[in-house]
Symmetry: C2
Subunit: 359 residues, 2 copies
Amino acid sequence: MFKIPATWMRGGTSKCWVFEWDSLQVPGKTVDEVLLRLFGSPDNRQIDGVGGGTSTTSKAVILSRSVSEDADVDYTFAQVGIDEQRVDWGSNCGNCSAVVAPYAIERGWVTPGPETTAVRTLNTNTNQLILQKVDTPGGELGHSGSQMIPGVPFPGMPVGMGFFDPAGRTTGKLFPTGEPQDKVTFDGRQVPATFIDAGAPVVIVEAEAVGLTGHETAAEIDTRTELLVHLDDTRRDAAVQMGLAATRADAERAIPKLALVAKADDGDEADLVVRMLSMGRLHPALAITGSVALTMAAQHEGTVASNLISSDVSAGVTMRTPAGLVQTWAETREGTPVVGALRSARRLADAELLLPDTW
Amino acid sequence: MFKIPATWMRGGTSKCWVFEWDSLQVPGKTVDEVLLRLFGSPDNRQIDGVGGGTSTTSKAVILSRSVSEDADVDYTFAQVGIDEQRVDWGSNCGNCSAVVAPYAIERGWVTPGPETTAVRTLNTNTNQLILQKVDTPGGELGHSGSQMIPGVPFPGMPVGMGFFDPAGRTTGKLFPTGEPQDKVTFDGRQVPATFIDAGAPVVIVEAEAVGLTGHETAAEIDTRTELLVHLDDTRRDAAVQMGLAATRADAERAIPKLALVAKADDGDEADLVVRMLSMGRLHPALAITGSVALTMAAQHEGTVASNLISSDVSAGVTMRTPAGLVQTWAETREGTPVVGALRSARRLADAELLLPDTW
């Protein structure tokens, strides 16, 4: 039996198991195999492992001190399959990203400042540099924090995250096809879509174009099997057009993500209404990487998102999600565009996970 | 911030957080408050805690060395509310019970035998003595094990559990009303029911009487909100008739459990088909305490269960559940009736849970 040290942290609206690379080295096994067995996959309940049986609770973050001069910490995100024997390494998770700065400070990799501490983190899935800011009053990491965010009924430590120059981290271009608007297949029809790569690759489709309002709840979407199949096929078509997969069948489950957008109601403080699909289900809030993509789409003329917005979004976008309002900011630092978002994080448990000798 | 030592174990088809009583003592807080906050309740996703957001993954077992001469370990089961700010202490969980012997041996409370080790465990919720047997080849607890059970796709350590004289542990009587069959309300009608207290209090109703076949899947039951409301009302009516609650509103969510039973198909090796409702949803397999109740009901003439059985069940009952076959055994040891079942268990993680200073 192997004992594998790990820390369980909530990052944003996700639960993430945090590992260091060395801990996942098991003789004769790949990291994918070790993660899948630790999480109890494949099994839709993950009952014999530490996974939570849902896309937001079957996530791992693997860290090391950075080898680059530009960063303090390198981290890699893994979406661990639930009923599939498969780990997706193709995209970052903005929620789990929020655990990196608190972990690095706790671990002593970064010396805390007297009031706040900035940690330079490099996400290796997307080669994205994210500057994270946390409060460290008196040079110490506050353990509890009072930051509330939509989708989490308890407070946590606030983590401000600025995505540096987020365009094209996966495909090389903000708009992988070169155009702010293309067409994608939905249920045999061609509907307008924006393919965008910022934070993570996302395909944006107007909710109305697929027969929805954009205001649907999880129950209203997740019970419609046929709709979910069509939407996943749309996502796979986008994967091919974005150069992320050779065929629809090759497309990864977690990349690109699919965002359905709608006009905000009159008088709503939101600029845009968003429903995000993740791993074949409605995301309870909004993937933060997706919020970066939507912010940049909202700021570029001719995209499916900007066509629905009448307000000024040059400094950031307020999005209405199933869990409430999500706000981003956008600025330029030393000539580099930065898109930012605020999350909260909390350490839930320090653990040693037990891996059977054989399986 | 408090650090609370805990072990995460799979017991049968459940995941259970295992604590020792001393660890849960937090100044100014009750044990209920501490458990609820650790688990992240109330919140239907338990995203800020160690609960799994489902009834089978929001469970705690709290142990101590026994103060009784009849037992080696005392343990108490807690069903931790998910979206309710409430802990149910009213019943035992047979799945989580299976973690007790392995934990006690690992902890050094019981000296392992050269081949197998019998651990005398006392469940304090029901005052039920359960003799647990685990393999200890060479005087050591095997860590991995090869025991498969329905509902769990990975092997674990086999744990044989014999419930000593299980009748009447909660209410004082095997049949709390004195009769093997009564009537209970379902959707305004009176339908036949058996109220039985063995392992745990259970109300047994024929599936046909509530318009079902007994062969339904989780998806076919859990999506029928109106049916679930009626069935919960039936369960609450039973709680009152069994003397477990003064009014329907006072009935606990976890007690009694509701079992729907049906005749086995011709040629099926099962004696009985069972669908168990737990915390308002279909149980993915069968609560083991419920399997003890169903075994004793099957063996007593005139119950809703025995009326559906044509085979000889004096030595045990084979039940068809959504996850497959569950087999019990029944015997008499030194004049005492014993009902037994086999589970598997695996230690998933050793942990320190982090409790915020205030909440």
